[in-house]
């Protein structure tokens, strides 16, 4: 397996608070990599720093060998790294199809003047993106809701649409920030199946959540964080039996019980 994303000793301090302390990990191509941890563990900070929303205080992020540390989000998209957000994941007032067309910006943008004058290059890019949007809807089973306005969709569908917008940018790696937060069990399964479909399209996924079952169902490998640091890493079932992990989640008492 070739390594796609390399995170090396990534740190982020907010004043005196160390939100992220020398976090290192690697994600292989088409791997689903989970990051879990209790609230305040630094998961979202990790996503924000990797996706360029905030700048790191130290460390390095490499994508397919290229140093992309601290690049702006839209530049990272050009390099094939896309993320989703916990909230505001869709254009609420637009149809599903229009949402996805907006997601294809990276492919269709031929420049201001070609776009303005409708040159043949711009038109070709446009029809290519329209076809790709139909493909994305087909892959993620969104075709039947193509003309529905996003805000009228059930919440679980909106989350799936958020991932579809990410897929529309045709990334190599997608970062999902708590895609299953606030979802019912059935909706969580829908999101889980969608993540698997992303991987089936050759995309590596880094997914963040604190729902243990969702993560252990889905991920090839899991990294557990607490207080900005790595606590454990490995296969899901191994990690979840780790004493330090149980302690971080449930307290010392349960960790002792697990030992006996």
């Amino acid at each position: 397996m070739t390594v796609l994303l390399t995170v090396e000793r990534l740190s982020k301090r907010f004043g005196g608070v160390e939100a992220l302390a020398e976090l290192s990990f690697e994600v292989a191509e088409t791997e689903i990599f989970g990051i879990i941890g209790p609230n305040g563990a630094g998961k979202t900070t990790a996503v924000n720093v990797i996706s360029g929303v905030t700048r790191p205080s130290g460390g390095m992020v490499r994508l397919a060998g290229k140093d992309v540390t601290g690049l702006a989000p839209h530049v990272l998209v050009e390099n094939g790294l896309v993320r989703t957000f916990q909230a505001t994941t869709v254009y609420a007032a637009q149809t599903v199809r229009e949402n996805l067309r907006r997601g294809t910006y990276r492919q269709i943008y031929a420049g201001l003047l070609p776009s303005l004058f409708g040159t043949s290059a711009a038109r070709a890019a446009r029809s290519r993106s329209d076809r790709y949007v139909e493909d994305v809807m087909h892959w993620l089973d969104l075709t039947r809701v193509a003309d529905q306005v996003a805000m009228n969709l059930p919440y679980g569908f909106q989350k799936v649409l958020g991932m579809a917008i990410g897929l529309a940018a045709s990334p190599r790696l997608i970062l999902l920030d708590e895609p299953a937060a606030g979802l019912s069990a059935q909706e969580t399964d829908h999101v889980r199946d969608t993540v698997r479909l992303l991987r089936a399209r050759g995309i590596a996924v880094v997914v963040i959540d604190h729902n243990m079952r969702f993560i252990s169902d889905l991920c090839d490998r899991v990294l557990v964080m607490a207080q900005g640091r790595e606590l454990a890493r490995g296969l899901p079932h191994e990690v979840l039996r780790n004493e330090a992990v149980i302690e971080a989640y449930l307290g010392k008492h349960y960790a002792k019980q697990a030992r006996h």
Partner: protein, 323 residues
């Protein structure tokens, strides 16, 4: 498509033909003002579509106006050079100020653009050696003796309005417009689809302010006077109100608002005091009952007509198609 083919020539005929239906110079004058203001309002609409309400748009009209007048009168160059200099001055200031201003959001952008507009106005007042100070510059020569009549200037301004508004419409209608709307509706999301948010905003801001400069130059050479009071907060605010009354999210709305806001005060000239009251009432009513603006009323009316008499409408359109 067929309907657009019918409506577009009709609109063109109406815009070109109406000045010959009347010899009233005052009506021609209102026509000129609408054309000039339409460019300014449509260009402000571009900025509003990126999610920023600018209260300093008149400052860029001022730059276009002074830039053009000073080039023509001070340097003795022909008017096309004046228009180019005025437009370039407005665009240049936008290129300098834009990257700073556009990092502000919401009410902070509104407040700072208001201050920015006032700073520009004060700079004009204070540099009397160049700008004539608060007296302004009188006796601006006409562009051409042939353009001295209101009717002739109407066609001249109409040409610029068609070009300016057309540019705005095209910009919003092409893929670039999709990026603009994405930014307004979800800036972070747009950025994570690869839209270079600040670059798009600054580009749109420069284009919009250059168009405001064109409007300013057109206006100065029409009324043949430039003064700082024409470009105060009142004018900036009027441009915003045109967009609000017409409908913030659509370009035709901005044009509708322009026609409304230019025509009404000209018609109510006898009742200057009452004017402000009527404007206030209309603004209140718009914001309280019809936030979609005038264009929304139009859409609702059309939907209602269709629902009420589907056969009658169908009959009319088929007759038109047949003829």
């Amino acid at each position: 498509m067929t309907r657009a083919r019918i409506i577009a020539p009709l609109c063109a005929a109406a815009l070109l033909g109406w000045p010959w239906l009347t010899d009233d110079k005052f009506l021609h004058h209102v026509g000129v003002l609408i054309c000039i203001t339409a460019i300014a309002a449509a260009s402000l609409h571009l900025i509003i579509r990126t999610g920023h309400v600018s209260l300093g748009h008149a400052a860029f009209m001022a730059l276009g106006a002074y830039g053009s007048v000073l080039t023509v009168m001070g340097l003795g160059l022909p008017w096309p050079a004046g228009f180019v200099v005025g437009t370039a001055a407005a665009a240049a200031l936008a290129a300098i100020a834009g990257p700073i201003l556009l990092r502000l959001t919401g009410k902070y952008f509104v407040l700072v653009t208001f201050l920015f507009g006032e700073v520009v106005r004060m700079a004009i007042v204070e540099n009397a050696w160049l700008t004539g100070g608060s007296n302004g510059i009188f006796d601006v020569p006409p562009l051409n003796p042939a353009l001295l009549s209101n009717r002739a200037y109407y066609y001249f301004a109409l040409l610029f309005a068609v070009f300016g508004v057309g540019l705005c419409a095209r910009l919003l209608g092409c893929e670039y417009g999709r990026a603009i709307d994405s930014i307004r509706e979800g800036e972070r999301l747009a950025e994570c689809s690869g839209v270079p948010v600040i670059r798009v905003k600054v580009t749109v801001f420069i284009i919009a302010c250059a168009l405001a400069g064109v409007a300013g130059a057109l206006q100065a050479h029409y009324i043949r006077y430039v003064g700082p009071e024409s470009y105060s907060i009142v004018q900036s605010l009027n441009l915003v109100v045109m967009n609000v009354i017409g409908g913030m999210a659509s370009l035709p709305g901005a044009l509708l608002g322009t026609v409304f806001m230019v025509t009404l005060p000209e018609l109510l000239r006898g009742y200057v005091n009452l004017q402000q009251v009527i404007f206030g009432a209309i603004l209140f009513a718009t914001m309280a009952f019809n936030p979609g603006g005038l264009i929304e009323v139009f859409h609702r009316l059309r939907a209602w007509l269709r629902a009420a008499k589907p056969n009658a409408i169908g009959g009319v359109s088929s007759t038109v198609r047949g003829s």
